[in-house]
């Protein structure tokens, strides 16, 4: 588990300089509509042909 990169850190404090999570930024939000546009173009090609039949036939009994 990518241990080498984690070992550098001290366990007892949070060092902001080493934070790796991608920042969800407003800029990203602006990119969203174009990403969604592309996605929607693709979706029509892969979406189950008969949505009503697909949804009605999706039955999952006997869980847990």
């Amino acid at each position: 588990m990518a241990e080498s990169e984690h070992k550098k850190r001290k366990t007892s404090e949070i060092d902001k300089s080493e934070i790796e999570a991608t920042e969800p930024t407003p800029a990203r939000s602006e990119e969203l509509s174009s990403e969604l546009d592309e996605l929607l173009d693709e979706i029509d090609e892969v979406l189950e042909e008969n949505a009503e039949e697909f949804v009605k036939n999706y039955v999952q009994k006997g869980g847990e």
Binding site: D15, P24, T25, R28, A51
Partner: protein
């Protein structure tokens, strides 16, 4: 001091069998798993190796925790028609009721568990292709990682946290309930419609979680009827005098890695704070069952939740409060026992996600499942000017969770990745190194023909002589790579291994 946390998940997948008249989910699930076991080259389950089954024996608490007991009367309780296999990565892969289910190996931190949870999804994907190659033309098995069929039937993605037996259960109930109700704002997988009793389906066009509709009690033993927010199953799969396993049934199955990682990481932190009695009573929710559904239906994230004593707070503000307390806790106690370095990453994501939820949740497209799904559905509806009850929207919901790479809507989104493809590929074939899962997985890799059955807390070896040998593993922190890798490498036969362990114990 909080215990070293052991984490695990158990995921039930939805399954459909296309191209047959009367499909049977039990035989479809068996076919799926058997196809994987026959096809894979993984040691222990390969076509030329004997299958290693699950050992159903009920371990008696407190005995047999050292050394070996000759076992002459092992009950072979594996139901012949229901597959129940142990994989060389330490997972259990089986048919549970009418679903394929995969339980991850025991992991020592949320980052490792994310990796083995992802490996589980990949195993299901490989199973689908193996099954579909073997099926006649025109038939297909399709697997979904979700929790509801939209018709009132639900199946679970359960989390497990090993906690100290000494911790008063009442304390766990109170604080875990607060967290489970409010963490839905980042753990929710999103759902079109309502399945709650007494509510019309499209009264709720979209909600945060798949599962909130199915919970009717605060605390209880059930998992299929009158589901409780806190499940009381007491089956630690470890020394019961020392450990309790909190079996969490209230969560959604997630596809976004950030959702899975935060679900596990924040709950692990909460358990540590409960064990160390670090939390006060300020955040006790007055009516948890109501609040669970209230939060799931509140797309504004601003609904006031009634607390005991009459004050109110939003789910978001309660999560901010738990985040702040976790930060204080880590400064005071360190992160060693809650998952070490990976917890720093949990805190980092937690803060960023809560900030984005506070300012503009749409920023979390590709980070959280419910935001991602909601954006797809809303924009599709806008583009095609559909009514909210159009079947296409419900179809989009289901197809978000389709595990076929070419059909999955989730896999078409560029999402935030926390573990690499290479790490996941390794986790498909290898056990985690920091728990007893290592011993289980390595023995399966090296001596598949000698492992008769296995389960979480023991392995039964058939050494070829008269006696079967059971190796108990009641301590999840033993049998790690550090403890046994050298030993396993140095032993040629399983008899050598057993004799060496026996000497170590004596």
């Amino acid at each position: 001091m909080a215990l070293r946390r052991i984490y695990g998940t158990e995921t039930e997948y939805g399954i459909i069998h296309r191209g047959v008249k009367d499909s049977n989910p039990i035989s479809a699930s068996s076919f799926l798993i058997n196809a994987y076991l026959s096809k894979t080259s993984e040691p222990g389950v390969g076509p030329n190796s004997p299958r290693v089954g699950w050992d159903f024996i009920d371990e008696t608490p407190g005995i047999d925790i050292r050394g070996f007991a000759p076992v002459g009367s092992l009950p072979p309780e594996i139901e012949p028609n229901l597959v129940n296999a142990v994989l060389a990565n330490g997972s259990r892969y089986y048919v549970d009721h009418a679903h394929p289910e995969l339980s991850t190996p025991e992991c020592l931190d949320p980052l490792s568990l994310l990796c083995w949870d992802r490996a589980g999804d990949e195993i299901l994907i490989k199973s689908m292709s193996a099954a579909n190659e073997a099926l006649p033309d025109g038939e297909e098995l399709i697997v979904y990682k979700n929790n509801s069929d939209g018709k009132g039937n639900s199946y679970g993605c359960h989390e497990n946290y090993l906690i100290s037996r000494e911790t008063p259960f009442g304390r766990i109930v109170q604080h875990a309930t607060t967290h489970f109700v409010t963490r839905q704002i980042f753990t929710g997988a999103g759902k079109v419609g309502s399945e709650a009793i007494g509510e019309k389906r499209m009264e709720i066009p979209f909600q945060l979680t798949q599962r909130a509709d199915f919970f009717e009690e605060e605390v209880g033993l059930e998992t299929t009827l009158k589901r409780p927010i806190i499940n009381t199953r007491d089956e630690p799969h470890a020394d019961p005098l020392k450990y309790r396993r909190l079996h969490v049934i209230v969560g959604d199955a997630n596809l976004c890695e950030v959702s899975t990682f935060l679900k596990l990481g924040t709950t692990g932190l909460l358990m540590a704070m409960i064990e160390d009695d670090f939390l006060d009573n300020q955040l006790k929710i007055a009516n948890p069952v109501h609040a669970l559904q209230q939060v799931s239906r509140d797309m504004s994230l601003k609904a006031p939740i009634l607390l005991e004593g009459g004050k109110t707070a939003t789910a978001l503000s309660i999560q901010w409060e738990l985040y702040e307390r976790s930060k204080k806790y880590l400064n005071e106690f360190g992160s060693e026992n809650v998952g070490g370095e990976s917890v720093i990453k949990v805190m980092d994501y937690w803060e960023k996600i809560l900030s984005a939820l506070t300012s503009n949740p749409d920023q979390l497209f590709g980070f959280l499942d419910w935001v991602t799904k909601k954006n797809i559905i809303d924009s599709y509806r806008d583009r095609h000017e559909l009514n909210i009850d159009d079947y296409k929207l419900a179809a989009l919901d289901l197809q978000y969770h389709d595990l076929r790479p070419e059909m999955s809507l989730f896999s078409r989104v560029s999402t935030e990745k926390i573990v690499s493809t290479e790490e996941v590929a390794l986790a498909i074939e290898n056990p985690p190194e920091q728990t007893r899962a290592f011993f289980r997985g390595k023995c399966l890799q090296k001596w598949p023909e000698n492992v008769l059955v296995a389960n979480w807390d023991s392995i039964v070896f058939d050494t070829g002589d008269q006696n079967l040998r059971r190796v108990p593993m009641m301590e999840p922190l033993k049998g790690t790579a550090q403890h046994v890798e050298h030993l396993i490498d140095s032993c040629e036969t399983v008899i050598e291994l057993i004799e060496s362990i026996s000497e170590t114990i004596e």
